[in-house]
Structure formats: structure tokens, C-alpha cells
Symmetry: C2
Subunit: 201 residues, 2 copies
């Protein structure tokens, strides 16, 4: 299980920084004045280049007693099932991003009920946010990054073929909470492999 998170979603992480994106001169990796951790910085134009965690946002979308899952058409974890989700874009609210990803990956229109899970994955510098949502119609289709979309009852969820631990965690919480008809927002950290934590965090 440990390797899964480090592969996680497909959009590439920020590339290694060699040159200042402002002035084009080589950068150094050191602690800026008044700071306490190493950053890429430019000694020519004095720009400090901060990098920060990214937010992944998506929907746990249901139709009657079934949940919507997407079979991934892309690496990593191609062929495995996931909830529709992806990186939040600049200018988007988190729920807007969840709706967009649900449309892009599953061609499904949903109504969001509420925020449901907030997971920190510090070893890969990501925050996952899933919203509980309901399909407005039982209509969906595979978007470009999916090879299949389907609705699953709890007993039929392909637990052994889920793409990422965070997906299993979210689904397990959901079915548990549904049995009690109470959906508190769940917030925690999922640290799969602490040895992979970046030294600069």
C-alpha cells in the first residue's frame, strides 16, 4: 500500500527548480533572511519561490443507494476505481472544483450536500477534500481520464480494486455514516509512509 500515495494523482508535481522564473538566472536552495526553512531563491533579483501543498477536491456522489466510481484510464493506478477528483484550480472554490472534476471525469451532474472529508497527506504535500453529493439524474459517461463509470451498492464496491487508500477511507466512512444517517465532517491525516516525508516541510 505504501507506494500508492507517492504515485497518487496523475498531474505532475512542480518540477525541480533550476532557474528563477522571474529573471532566468540560476537559483539557490537555502534559507532566506528571516525565514526558517530552505526555499528556492534568486540571488540576482532576490525573488523567493515558495511552493506549497496542493488541494485535491472531488465528490462522493450517490444515486439512491449507490455510489459513483470511475475506473481510471490513466497512470497511476490505471484500471483501478476511484472517486471523481483532481487538483483544485486557481480561481475556484473547493466545491466548484469538486463539481468540475465530477463532470470532467464522469460526465455527471450533481448537487452537493456538504463537505465530507478533509485529509492531509503530508508525505506528498496534498490536502484531499471530498464533498457528499447526489446525482440529479442517473446519467454519466467516461470522461477522458476514465475508462468506465458505474454506480455501486455497498456490497458490490470493488474494494480490492480501489486506486488509492484515501478512496477506501472515504468510502468506508461513508457507508458507516450512512447506516446511522449522520455525516459529520471527518478530518485527519493519512501518513502512509513517514520515511517519504520531504525534508523541507
Amino acid at each position: 500500500m505504501q507506494a500508492l500515495y507517492t504515485l497518487d494523482f496523475a498531474t505532475p508535481d512542480s518540477p525541480e527548480m533550476n532557474f528563477c522564473s522571474a529573471c532566468g538566472q540560476p537559483v539557490v536552495f537555502r534559507i532566506p533572511p528571516g525565514d526558517d526553512r530552505e526555499r528556492y531563491m534568486c540571488e540576482h533579483c532576490e525573488t523567493v519561490h515558495y511552493t506549497n501543498p496542493r488541494v485535491v477536491t472531488g465528490c462522493l456522489a450517490t444515486w439512491e443507494d449507490r455510489v459513483l466510481l470511475c475506473r481510471r484510464a490513466i497512470a497511476p493506478r490505471r484500471g483501478y476505481w476511484t472517486l471523481p477528483a483532481g487538483f483544485l484550480e486557481n480561481g475556484e472554490a473547493a466545491d466548484e472544483g469538486a463539481l468540475r472534476e465530477t463532470w470532467e471525469e464522469a460526465r455527471a451532474r450533481v448537487v452537493i450536500d456538504d463537505l465530507y472529508t478533509v485529509y492531509s497527506l503530508p508525505h506528498i504535500s496534498q490536502i484531499y477534500m471530498f464533498y457528499r453529493a447526489r446525482l440529479t439524474r442517473p446519467e454519466f459517461a467516461a470522461g477522458e481520464e476514465s475508462e468506465d463509470i458505474a454506480l455501486f451498492r455497498e456490497a458490490d464496491v470493488p474494494w480490492q480494486e480501489l486506486a488509492f487508500p484515501v478512496i477506501r477511507e472515504t468510502l468506508e466512512h461513508y457507508f458507516h455514516d450512512r447506516s446511522r444517517d449522520s455525516y459529520p465532517v471527518r478530518s485527519s491525516s493519512l501518513i502512509v509512509d513517514p520515511s517519504r516525508r520531504r525534508g523541507w516541510g
Copy 2:
């Protein structure tokens, strides 16, 4: 009130990108193949440079019936009161970042009870997350970015001197929820000035 968000926290946003940080060649701003929005990309080494929203994390920390506020020693909104908070760092869980910021800005040690608010500020591409927390001792001191730290009862909160709308929103929710002894996680968008939304989101 509209201008406040656009000034928001002091750490500079990513600078304009002129050069590829991987290879040092000039970048272009256009829609990459297979994408649907403009990105900075390098036609020389084919790197696409994604930029994404940042997470601001902090604590609504209390001692008995009082909340901990920090008077800002830095721009923007120097001299105004805020909750201890700042940008989540790579390698951190959201609650770890909230603890770190509470220490850095208020030199206060706290125990976190739970996630409390998740606000999207899409016009400045930020996600705010506040945790409810309790001071372990009534001890605190101004960190480098604060000029004063104090505990306030509800009646004494300097409502007219709060630094940012998101701080007011969080405090108002807190006192309302405290009166009912129920603290549901609150999630919403705060769009102060939609005209300032970035065109590339």
C-alpha cells in the same frame, strides 16, 4: 471591505513567470495539448508549470471563555487583530501547520479539538482552514509577525479592528456555536469581490 481580501496574508504570491524554472528558456502562456486552460509552459523542454490555490491554516484558540488574537506587526493590515494563521508548508498536515503558526505568531501551545472552518476564497486562490483549540496554559507572547497578543471575552473582541473578513466570520460562528455548545464544521465560499476573480481559473 472589498479590498481586504486582495491584500490578505503577507507572504507574497507566486511571481509572474517569465522563464522556465527547469531549463531557463522563456515560457509562453497558452493552453497545453489536452488541457482546457492556459498555463505557463516551456516550448523548449515541454514542461508545463501548474500553479494552484494555497492553504492558509490556523487556530481559533481559547482559554476558558476567551479567544486568542494577534495584533499584526506586518503589512497588510498592520495593527489589526487576527487569528494566528499562515500558509501551510510542504510536508505538513493541516493541523500541524495550525499548531506551528500558533506557536510562531503567538508563542502559544495549544491542543486541537477539531477542524472548525473551511473557507474558499477563490478570488485570491486560497483555502482557509481553522481548527478549534485550547491553550494548555494561559501563556503567550508576540512572535515576529505580531506586535501584541491577548485573550478576549466575546464582549471585548475588537470587532472594528479585525484584520480580515474571514476572521470576523470565523469568530462570529464560534460565539454562536458556543452558545449552543455545538461546533459543526462550517464550509463555504467567501467571495468578496467577484470582479477580482482571476481570468485563468
